[in-house]
Symmetry: C2
Subunit: 314 residues, 2 copies
């Protein structure tokens, strides 16, 4: 079975009464609107984290981040939120959509999502990266009065192409414990909620106060993909997480996306990798600076072609 | 206006009465079935070449090659041919489809085409290259009795990302004469038929006996693309055409696909380029060997994000 790991993501900042005052049933409905389900949840005083059948939802007092993959329609969850809660108290809405492995199996494409967004809450859309290569579509609202906090930084590391031993770790007969053991260097000091899909695939939410970290793994041969995202960026070194992840997963290529309230974030290629693309831009009116980079490891061996599996056309 | 330059291609080898005996109206209907039109034609005793509103059709006594781009459905033209002429005299049918800039704007995807092909004339499907990067889908029939001639070699060079001066050359106020002047080193000794689209875009068929060469240019900023294909491969040096093309067009990246009846064809990266991917396989039962390579020129400068144009979502 093929599976689309590439994600859509929305981040909404909210300036009315606390999002914690919304009942559990609201979040269940919002998640269902996208076509996903809540599998489990984990919470502390500052942050509620929901593990979904397709990725994750994080809710803070004044903010939410929802990430979905597969054939979900995150745009419908956004529409549900805006139509039930109103758009007047949204101080910032940022919607991202990564290029997909199987764009033709998606229910909508980014431009369709964009036309819905522009009706709901007008904004501006950008593309980071080339259309014939890895790229990220991004929509953002523009509110001159909105200013992110100085520590409001987010890191996304999207890894493509997995070595057989890494793919195997995330498929049966591996267990959750095997996986947690492998991820140990990454997960120290976080509280965990994770799910191992049958027969393969893995999702994890991890919390530490208001900080989150989330990992989603699609080990399937047709679309090998691991995504990592977190806002725990208080390290001196911008490369801290990237280095750790690349050492653990050794992907064929990876993209790094960093949101920072102040500046462009520089990153060197990890050893053995080459930078192929680098884009930086300011989200004018959303006050974030976004750095996008695509790195890859050259494969000098000649490969065989892959036979197209019957399930794709029968 | 955005335009999808990436092509679909079919090559049919035919062992009944000459394809030249089919009337002009047959080819017009076949081209129309795909959604394209014949713009002009050029012919000699061995080869008839049609320039199409979306790419080209070449007809020999015992063979045809049809290439279409944009939003055409080449699969419908194949269906028209097989249903009107019968499948019993087809000794080989090879269908290729390159990854697209805008896959979600296509009327079908490769797997849908494949399911039509498998009903019309069963065969085998392969993928050259990674799904998250440049790649080629290829379908071929399997007939153990079929053996290509030893000189039956085809070269495709697909170039992505154009420098502004190259893109300008293929847009008004340039003229056909400006373009032919630039292409002179490539076109020596060929007879030409070319078309300059308004306001931009260029197509060319060139003939020399049974040999053809065809170039199609999409200079549009959203999907800059030049394709080159020919069967004029009697040079000592496999790199002859590639070197010439890269010198003339200096693309950001390029793919090379070579069909050879005998062997894998090795190619070095042109100066300034890096090989990113290399795939070789045999079309078992079609007796061709296919070498696929993807090269790119690293861009060390940080780019700005591209604003998404309204025509994409309004």
């Amino acid at each position: 079975m093929f599976f689309e790991g590439s994600e859509k993501k929305v981040e909404i900042q909210w300036q009315k009464e606390s999002l914690f005052s919304l009942p559990e049933s609201f979040w269940r409905e919002m998640v269902q609107a996208s076509g996903a389900q809540i599998l489990s949840s984990l919470q502390n005083r500052k942050l509620h984290a929901y593990l979904l059948s397709e990725s994750s939802l994080f809710v803070w007092d004044d903010r939410l981040t929802m990430i979905t993959c597969g054939q979900t329609q995150l745009i419908n969850a956004i529409q549900f939120f805006v139509e039930t809660q109103g758009r007047d108290f949204i101080s910032s809405l940022i919607y991202e959509r990564k290029n997909e492995y199987f764009p033709y199996f998606q229910k909508t494409h980014f431009f369709e999502d964009l036309s819905v967004l522009q009706r709901l809450i007008p904004g501006r859309a950008l593309q980071f990266g080339q259309s014939d290569d890895h790229h990220l579509f991004l929509f953002h609202t523009q509110s001159p009065d909105f200013h992110p906090r100085m520590d409001d930084r987010t890191l996304e590391v999207l890894m493509y192409g997995l070595k057989p031993e890494v793919a195997c770790l995330f498929s049966q007969p591996s267990t959750k414990e095997d996986i947690r053991q492998k991820l140990k260097p990454i997960l120290e000091s976080f509280e965990l909620d994770d799910y191992f899909f049958d027969p393969s695939g893995y999702s994890l939410n991890a919390l530490r106060g208001h900080e989150y970290l989330t990992i989603h793994v699609t080990p399937q041969e047709e679309s090998p993909y691991i995504s990592f995202e977190c806002n725990a960026l208080n390290h001196e070194d911008n490369s801290y997480w990237v280095r750790l992840l690349i050492q653990v997963f050794e992907p064929q290529s990876y993209d790094v996306i960093i949101f920072d309230p102040e500046q462009e974030v520089f990153l060197n290629a990890e050893p053995g990798y080459t930078q192929k693309d680098s884009v930086f831009d300011e989200l004018k009116g959303a006050q974030y600076k976004v750095s996008y980079r695509h790195f890859f490891k050259a494969n000098h061996e000649v490969q065989k072609a892959k036979e197209v599996r019957r399930e794709f056309y029968e």
